[in-house]
């Protein structure tokens, strides 16, 4: 095995996931978790197959999973550990968002539980599963390898943007921010850092490569328990 960091990435077909996969496969062994469509990437291998690509680009390793399903979470983590033997970085970027008025229609209220589940509970469940299955017994190694979790949040979790209909989505991201702080507190006992990355809208307000850059900075740094806000003016730590 080469010395690349192993990154478990959820929401790999999303905007952030797609760009991360296409820009970072030479630095990370990326396990790209998708629900419906695999990320568009020429050197895609299936995680559970032995395909070795001859492409000039390093492969990413795609795996389909419905993260709302506990059995699928377990299959995902077990498969990743069977293939790579470790997880250095968990990026929770899978998201469920429904934007509409909270008062005028029932759309948002009907989707509220699902938004909270995908945006708050699933990131925690996955982190806990990796911790229980692997990290918990490797504290020294975790510290040496600077292992960490990055929960992809949103600036809407700490700033109010009127008239976009993102009240429940924002509330779920606020919960994720606070949960990330608590996770940092508790996961420090096993040598795992936890931070949240809270960008403004990308690529509309900030360029997606900038988000990737901040994500890597969080991975390579030493901070924990922080929410890194990315706005058009730059980064702000909360």
């Amino acid at each position: 095995m080469n010395g690349k960091r192993v990154c478990l990435l959820t929401g790999a077909s999303g905007r952030l996931g797609t760009v991360f996969c296409s820009s970072s496969a030479n630095e990370y062994e990326i396990i790209a978790v998708y629900r419906r469509h695999p990320p568009a990437w020429p050197s895609l291998s299936r995680l559970s197959s032995s395909i070795q690509t001859k492409e000039p680009l390093d492969p990413i390793h795609a795996i389909q999973a419905d993260l709302r399903d506990a059995a699928d979470q377990q299959r995902l983590v077990d498969t990743v550990l069977a293939k790579f033997g470790k997880v250095d970085l968990l990026v929770n970027s899978a998201v469920h968002s429904v934007w509409a008025s909270m008062l005028e229609t029932n759309r948002v209220i009907d989707s509220a539980a699902a938004q909270f589940q995908m945006n708050v509970i699933v990131p925690l469940q996955l982190a806990v599963l990796v911790a229980r299955t692997f990290w918990r017994d490797h504290t020294v190694e975790n510290l040496q390898a600077n292992r960490n979790i990055i929960n992809v949040s949103s600036i809407a979790g700490s700033r109010v943007y009127p008239n976009l209909g993102q009240g429940v989505y924002a509330a779920s991201k606020a919960a994720l921010d606070q949960l990330s702080r608590h996770m940092a507190d508790e996961f420090s006992t096993i040598g795992i850092r936890v931070n949240a990355l809270a960008p403004n809208s990308f690529p509309r307000i900030i360029p997606t490569p900038g988000v990737i850059q901040s994500l890597k900075k969080l991975d390579q740094g030493t901070m924990t328990g922080r929410v890194l806000i990315l706005d058009r003016d730059g980064e702000l730590l909360e």
Partner: protein, 231 residues
């Protein structure tokens, strides 16, 4: 003008009881409770002594606000009884601390339920009152200074280390930001929304002070505020 109508949830607890007693001189109260009815004079209980003559001011409704149909029924009963709702105080909460995250068991339902009780149910109640009452009454809303007060907690603003309250805290953080977004959405209808965040445990303010702060928010002009409160 007839007495303002205040819909209060979570009235079975200490704060709910105190709030019902304090408000019942000036407000007509719909007191929602889940298990134990509030021990205050109401249609369910005769006054216990001559000094408590407010039994017509408090109308108790048993409801499980995690059920959408119960939220609907509560609002319909409130309107049937008093004709309108001027204020909502979302006091009902799941205040359990569920232990260490690293010991989380996957099949436990506590996390989604805590988010439902502390965040989604209050939103459903506000939405239902808006649909039934506030939506087409902007003038009345302004005239009657209608508002929502969500009772949150300091745990939504700060991380208290090593207290096993991660999910409780996260649910209250969500409620805080939800309140701010609600205040924006309700503003065009001249309805205000604020959150009050009392500390718990040793720095918890006395119940009377929390009741006073709720009253101030109901009677003031602030909106979009998330107010921390300690002893």
């Amino acid at each position: 003008m007839m007495k303002p109508v205040c819909l209060v949830t979570g009235t079975g607890g200490t704060l709910g009881k105190a709030l019902c007693r304090e408000l019942s001189t000036e407000y007509s109260i719909i007191a929602s409770y889940r298990r134990a009815e509030p021990p205050v004079p109401s249609q369910l209980q005769w006054p216990v002594d001559d000094s408590e003559q407010q039994n017509e001011s408090v109308y108790c409704v048993r409801a499980d606000l995690n059920r959408r149909e119960d939220v609907q029924r509560l609002v319909e009963v409130a309107l049937a009884r008093f004709g309108h709702v001027d204020a909502i105080v979302n006091l009902a909460a799941d205040t359990e601390f569920h232990g260490k995250l690293l010991e989380l068991w996957h099949d436990d339902e506590y996390a989604p339920m805590q988010l439902q009780t502390n965040c989604i149910s209050p939103l459903q109640l506000v939405s239902a009152v808006h649909q039934y009452c506030w939506k087409d009454q902007s003038d009345q809303n302004a005239l009657r200074n209608r508002s929502v007060v969500n009772i949150s907690c300091m745990s939504g603003l700060y991380v208290f280390s090593d207290t096993s309250q991660a999910f409780y805290g996260a649910s209250k953080t969500a409620l805080n930001i939800l309140t701010m977004y609600l205040s924006i959405e309700l503003a065009p209808y001249s309805v205000r929304a604020n959150a009050l965040c009392p500390a718990r445990f040793s720095s918890r303010p006395p119940t009377g002070r929390i009741v006073g702060a709720i009253k101030e928010l109901l009677e003031g002009t602030a909106t979009g505020m998330v107010l921390p409160m300690t002893s």
